[in-house]
């Protein structure tokens, strides 16, 4: 209870369990992941395609997204970070790369892990593809994908496809 300075610290953990609902606008996206597909949604006003479809609402227009759009499976790295700091429960070898990936056909990027290459070889514009876990482990989650790996295709210069600004 008391520590070296004579002052007391108390362990007081708190914990709450909630019933979380993804909402009806996430269903096609999550069902898509169970089926091994990337399903995003398009805004009826500005036509941008969101993957994941974040609450099924366009954050620019405040409109319900309408129309499922299959995106990917390949994508382009838009930015990335080389991580050298271990975290509690980490299993991946350091350093590892977390990257924002713009899947082909989507207008916002998603985050995932880059493996099967050296960290220093990762660059903006690199083309990547998903490596899925065993099908028996699939659920409604982006965790179905173990990581993304380079495809070896030539890099894409950002701003030249999909109309993203």
């Amino acid at each position: 209870m008391s520590e070296a300075d004579g002052l007391v610290r108390l362990r007081q953990p708190i914990g709450v369990t909630y019933n979380w609902s993804a909402g009806p606008n996430a269903t096609s996206h999550l069902a898509g992941l169970i089926a091994g597909k990337f399903i995003g949604k398009r805004c009826p006003s500005c036509a941008l395609v969101y993957f994941p479809p974040r609450n099924g609402v366009c954050p620019k227009c405040a409109k319900i997204l309408a129309g499922d759009v299959e995106v990917g499976p390949k994508g382009t790295i838009t930015t990335f970070c080389i991580v050298n700091v271990p975290f509690l429960g980490q299993k991946i070898k350091l350093p590892y790369v977390a990257a924002q990936i713009l899947l082909d056909g989507a207008d916002i990027s998603m985050q995932h892990l880059i493996q099967e290459c050296e960290a220093e070889d990762v660059r903006i514009g690199m083309r990547v593809e998903p490596v899925w876990k065993d099908k028996s482990e699939w659920g409604p989650s982006l965790e179905n994908i173990q990581h993304f790996r380079p495809t070896g295709e030539p890099d894409r210069v950002m701003g030249t496809e999909s109309g993203a600004s």
């Binding site: 007081q12 979380w20 909402g23 009806p24 609450n55 099924g56 620019k60 227009c61 405040a62």
Partner: protein, 352 residues
């Protein structure tokens, strides 16, 4: 600096439900759109957006940030959030308009109260050393206050049941309310205690819901509403957080807030009191000096629909609507926060 005249010019509320499978954004978006359509303005007309909600209820830190998707933050907007009831967000919006920086504000609040153990969640806001580790639920804390009031003769169980019976009857006419009924006082008193001395009907029904109001200043308010609900006084007071150090039989913070808001200056036609427990309505009426002629909670109050973090703003919406409808000229809206009426916000509104 002379105070600006600011009024509520429109309200929108979502009918209460339980175990909603919609996300907070999905329930907010249509209500906000409905309100904008009602008032006849666009998102670009809103100078300031202010939001009341609680991350502890959704179980996600910064869930209030995702709620910004419901208002469309492009082009960039001026926006704020309080980790509290929407009524407190309204107070911030009122202050913002008073500074002269903006003329129109939209205040919104939401709570998916039934998605988690709300009774335990609310008691996480108590003293982390002395109270929270014992894990008293919110109902238990209210029950301690009720017992003190009963022992002191300040309220009776019959009076508490009368509040419940009246509220449930009035709820029959309110599409937003959840708990409705026609029970007599005798029928309610015959029910068993759930948290002695409280019975089930003495405690508010937790529901999922959300609401929004538009505030506007001066002539803009007159353009947007035929009969704006002008805010004539607003005040917010907080009692000590130490449970044992404040009176269990009266609410000094509610009394001071009411006095500062100008409640006693003239008659009050309608008082929408945010009282999640029946004995608390009785304490509030006494603290604010409300007369028998004041119509208390014609909506049924929070007792029949308590979307945590939105129930206070709901009182403002209901009170303002009675001015719009012409059924009241001078109204009171109240919001409470914290265990045993710890914080109280009181607002007086008038039609012109």
């Amino acid at each position: 600096m002379a105070l600006r005249d600011i009024a509520i010019v429109g309200t929108a509320q979502r009918p209460s439900e339980v175990n909603s499978t919609f996300t907070s954004v999905e329930i907010l978006l249509p209500v906000i759109q409905q309100l904008l359509d009602k008032v006849g303005i666009e998102r670009s007309d809103i100078g300031f957006w202010c939001h009341g909600s609680c991350d502890y209820m959704s179980g996600q830190p910064f869930s209030f940030v995702s709620a910004v998707d419901a208002i469309g933050a492009w082009p960039p907007i001026v926006e704020s959030h309080v980790e509290a009831d929407g009524a407190l967000a309204l107070y911030e919006a009122w202050v913002k308009i008073q500074t002269g920086e903006v003329d129109v504000a939209l205040v919104f609040s939401n709570g998916k109260t039934t998605s988690g153990p709300i009774d335990q969640i609310l008691s996480l806001q108590t003293d982390p050393y002395m109270v929270a580790p014992l894990k008293p639920g919110f109902d238990a804390l209210a029950a301690l206050q009720a017992r003190a009031c009963l022992d002191a003769g300040v309220v009776t169980e019959r009076q508490m049941a009368e509040v419940a019976s009246r509220s449930r009857r009035d709820a029959n006419n309110n599409a937003i309310a959840f708990t409705k009924g026609n029970e007599s006082v005798e029928e309610l008193l015959a029910m068993p205690y759930t948290m002695n001395p409280l019975r089930a009907h003495d405690c508010a029904t937790p529901v999922d819901g959300c609401n929004a109001v538009v505030l506007a200043a001066g002539d803009i308010a007159r353009r947007l509403a035929t009969r704006p609900a002008w805010i004539r006084g607003i005040d917010h007071r907080i009692d000590t957080q130490r449970l044992g150090a404040r009176s269990m039989t009266e609410s000094s913070s509610a009394a001071i807030a009411a006095q500062k808001a100008g409640v006693g200056k003239d008659r009050i036609d309608v008082a929408e009191l945010h009282a999640p427990y029946t004995h608390q309505e009785l304490l509030l009426r006494k603290a604010m000096g409300l007369s028998e002629s004041t119509h208390i909670n014609p909506s049924g109050g929070a007792l029949v629909a308590n979307p945590a973090m939105a129930a206070g703003l709901a009182r403002f919406a209901e009170a303002a609507e009675s001015i719009f409808a012409g059924s009241a000229d001078r109204v009171l809206a109240h919001c409470t926060s914290g265990p045993m009426l710890q914080q109280n916000l009181v607002c007086v509104m008038e039609g012109e």
